[in-house]
């Protein structure tokens, strides 16, 4: 039995007008929770769907649980669980029927009652799929991904569209899966989620992995542990003149400036003084630790939710 749950080499996929995945290598160990981050159109879904056997790659090798699609497709399908980015079921199937039916496709299946509890859809068990809200459909999709008690679970944006409470309960589900020794590969647009859940991450952009590692190592690689923020009432003004006087980079965001620094203690007095003499109409000053979001901005030059 191989040590990795997943091993990918040189994965490529081109659509008629765009190269969606341009040579991706990934290795996910058994029992790991692995996160795939990246802006819209980075190629996350395409990568996942090639791994899941839904999309045929143009090139590259995929080994899932030590098996390849060409020879052991049926066995792979029996042992993985998949939540697609959007799951479209027949309109008039009820939640309970869908869970029962999908259970019959697998050699072993968790009970429907169990799954309903897990995703808290008990009171919607007999509602038709079309009548569910977006978040409820998302939770049903999660339950379907777990119906066969899978060893390896793929979750494509599992918390998009969930309310804060449902999001927390999904986190619990993922943590429990990890505790049970399962492997999880998930995508997300939420940095705090990636930090909270993932053992390791890969940041994708333009079809390639541009950075990978543990959340802590990625932040450490930035070598800019802190960020000072000046917030404004309304849009932030152009920081060019201010940056010149300060003698360092100032990033302009919607309603704030961000000034990355290694040493906030030394920077702050000088910064406030400069702001005062320039007449910068700022409201408040915050100092915070650099986060994955800063890593992401630094790596892709874009905000995640652009």
């Amino acid at each position: 039995m191989s040590e990795s749950a997943l091993r990918i080499r040189g994965l490529r996929k081109a659509f008629p007008k765009v190269v969606a995945v341009a040579g991706v290598d990934l290795e996910v160990a058994r029992g790991e929770v692995f996160g795939l981050l990246g802006p819209n159109g980075a190629g996350k879904t395409t990568t996942l769907e090639m791994i899941e056997g839904l999309t045929l790659p143009d090139a590259g090798e995929i080994e899932v649980l030590g098996r390849t699609w060409a020879r052991e497709g049926k066995e792979i399908r029996a042992r993985i669980g998949v939540q697609l980015q959007s799951t479209s079921l027949f309109n008039r199937i009820t939640v309970r029927e869908a869970l029962d039916l999908y259970g019959t496709y697998y050699p072993k299946a968790r009970t429907t009652a169990d799954l309903l509890d897990l995703v808290q859809l008990n009171d919607k068990a007999d509602a038709y799929h079309v009548t569910l809200s977006g978040g409820q459909q998302q939770r049903l999709a999660l339950a379907l991904a777990l119906v066969n008690d899978p060893e390896l679970v793929f979750l494509d944006e599992p918390t998009t569209g969930l309310d804060p409470q449902a999001r927390r309960s999904l986190w619990d589900v993922v943590r429990r899966m990890k505790a049970e020794g399962r492997t999880v590969l998930l995508t997300t647009h939420y940095m705090e989620e990636a930090e909270a859940l993932c053992d390791r991450l890969a940041i994708m952009d333009h079809g390639q992995v541009i950075a990978a590692g543990t959340p802590a190592s990625l932040i450490a690689q930035l070598a800019i542990p802190s960020v000072v923020e000046l917030t404004f009432d309304g849009d932030a003004p152009d920081p060019a003149a201010f940056a010149a006087r300060l003698g360092g980079p100032v990033e302009q965001r919607a309603d704030l400036w961000e000034i990355p620094t290694r040493d906030p203690k030394a920077l702050l007095p000088r910064l406030l003084e400069t702001a005062e003499s320039e007449g910068v109409p700022y409201q408040q000053v915050h100092v915070r630790r650099a986060t994955l979001e800063d890593v992401f901005l630094h790596q892709t030059g874009r905000s995640l939710r652009d």
Binding site: E52, R77, L84, F90, I93, T104, Y106
Partner: protein, 354 residues
């Protein structure tokens, strides 16, 4: 595995029963068709042929004799003044008219409506021979006696009885091509199968579940049509019900699989609609749904016997209208069965989840 097929089958039925609109139309449409056609052709061999008789200025004994003879040969005579007759002709409504000309008459036929005009001209000439003999006092020409029988000799049935099996067949073809094939393409387009694609469910079980469910719907539909045909027009199955079920089951399996197979060749619903029509109209026109092909070229008749609809209909008619057994129709059943199996295999091969 049988259990999986059964679960799939039951689920398809549940989903179908919940879609009340679709259910209503699958049953209402063929019934409406049958009632419509049945009422139009209720009289038996279709309505009488109509001939416009352009009235001369003054009616002679010769004119009177012709009119009487035309009634006798079962023509529907419509006497009109010259101006009215001309207006009707100009509108294109007249298939055949008799006009006085010189010492005699002339028959004018509408080149667009020769199917009615041709036989009408023949009947008018027959009436004229009769009228002449009477006017000359010579013995009336004797006609060859005509008897009307159904080919199997079971019972002299009418056109509606011929049509009912045709409609059953047409209905199967249209369910197969449009409600099975089309629905599958549009489900695939909407991504309804993608979630199934990542489960170990084999395609053929999924497809077989659907085929079996459509099969039972079609059989139920056939039962409804047969009951309506019986109650409204007194058309009854002359053969054994077991044979009827065998033929219907085989035919349904064939056309359902045919629709599935075609759906594997189109990416979008629009492409599919074009492809399906490409098959639907030739099959409908060439396979003897409404009329037989006995005046078509020989090679065409031979080829049509190898398409699925024609052998299905002739076997169905032999059983249903003439009470024949299946023994004499082995070849036809074989052709339909081969199409069913071939189409199902192609369907499984070509089927894609997304």
């Amino acid at each position: 595995m049988l259990m999986m097929i059964w679960r799939q089958f039951v689920m398809e039925w549940k989903l179908y029963l919940r879609d009340k609109g679709a259910m209503f139309w699958t049953f209402a449409f063929p019934v409406v068709m049958l009632l419509g056609f049945g009422i139009i052709f209720r009289g038996g061999g279709g309505p009488k042929l109509t001939v416009v008789y352009v009235q001369p200025a003054a009616q002679s004994t010769r004119d009177a004799a012709l009119l009487k003879a035309m009634e006798e040969v079962q023509l529907k005579v419509l006497p009109l003044a010259p101006a009215e007759a001309e207006a009707r002709w100009a509108h294109g409504e007249t298939a055949a008219e008799v006009l006085p000309e010189g010492e005699g008459y002339r028959i004018r036929l509408n080149s667009y409506l020769m199917a009615q005009g041709g036989p009408t001209a023949g009947l008018v000439n027959q009436a004229w021979l009769l009228a002449q003999a009477r006017l000359n006092g010579s013995p009336e020409p004797r006609r060859i006696p005509v008897s009307v029988e159904s080919p199997g000799g079971k019972k002299a049935s009418n056109y509606a009885a011929f049509l009912l099996p045709g409609l059953l067949g047409l209905n199967l073809l249209s369910i197969g091509l449009f409600s099975v094939g089309m629905v599958n393409v549009s489900y695939r387009e909407k991504g309804k199968f993608r979630r199934l694609a990542v489960t170990p469910l084999p395609k053929w079980i999924f497809l077989l579940g659907q085929v079996l469910q459509r099969l039972t719907i079609s059989l139920a539909q056939a039962v409804v049509l047969l009951i309506v045909g019986w109650l409204a027009f007194g058309i009854r199955n002359q053969g054994s019900y077991l044979d009827l079920v065998v033929v219907m089951t085989l035919g349904t399996a064939c056309f359902m699989s045919f629709g599935f197979a075609l759906s594997g060749f189109a990416e979008t619903s629009e492409t599919y609609a074009a492809i399906a029509n490409l098959f639907f109209f030739p099959l409908m026109l060439l396979s003897g749904v409404y009329f037989t092909l006995d005046s078509a070229p020989h090679w065409l008749q031979r080829s049509v016997a190898f398409l699925p609809l024609s052998p299905f209909l002739s076997t169905l008619r032999a059983v249903f209208n003439d009470g024949a057994g299946l023994a004499g129709h082995g070849m036809g059943l074989l052709v339909v069965g081969a199409w069913a199996l071939g189409a199902f295999l192609i369907a499984v091969r070509r089927f894609r989840w997304n």
